[in-house]
Symmetry: C2
Subunit: 120 residues, 2 copies
């Protein structure tokens, strides 16, 4: 993988590794529980117990969601004594946002060109 | 569903239906083939054949990806004679972008408050 990226005509923007990372972020955000956790952590760090509280879910299932968020880099955690505290890591969120913005800008530029052409 | 939304303290921003739609968009964007199709359609409409060309994939599998994109509203299609043409529908992309932006803004505002507090 990766080494043949230069021979492909449609290499993903920013490289194959970054494209895979963005894919994992979108996959993580596809789930409503994980979106709610991200939205909670956007307000500030929280422990596993605090994060789990709003959800009617067994703790091992909830821990799986946290693991998915941590694997794709959206959240980080560290142990403080006996408590694990999570915080948001904004870069993967920014990368996903920039991917979407790039598509919308390409689409808008095309509309602008079409409009200019129709006015001529 | 829906009717008890008012009794829940953590109703998703913009309502449960919109939150489900955003989830479907993120799910659609989690796949590299579907991201490539969205990026292609951002440059302008294309037929099924044109869209499938860069991919080493059986047409029924590719058609499944198009169906996922169409179900979540990211793309629309219409039959023109014997050819089905697809185009991007930008609103679901904008909704997904706004969700991400809202989280990043909440996170940045928290950082700003923290900084202001530390400076006092």
């Amino acid at each position: 993988m990766g080494t043949d990226a230069g021979t492909r005509t449609r290499a993903p923007r920013g490289g194959a590794a970054r494209d895979r990372e963005i894919g994992r972020v979108f996959q993580a955000l596809a789930d409503p529980t994980r979106r709610a956790v991200v939205a909670r952590l956007a307000l500030g760090p929280a422990s596993t117990t605090e994060l789990a509280r709003p959800f009617d879910m067994a703790l091992p299932s909830f821990a799986q969601h946290l693991a998915v968020l941590e694997r794709c880099g959206l959240v980080r955690s560290r142990k403080e004594g006996r408590v694990r505290r999570f915080h948001l890591a904004p870069r993967p969120l920014a990368d996903a946002e920039h991917w979407i913005v790039a598509q919308r800008e390409a689409w808008n530029q095309r509309l602008d060109r079409l409009e200019a052409y129709l006015r001529e």
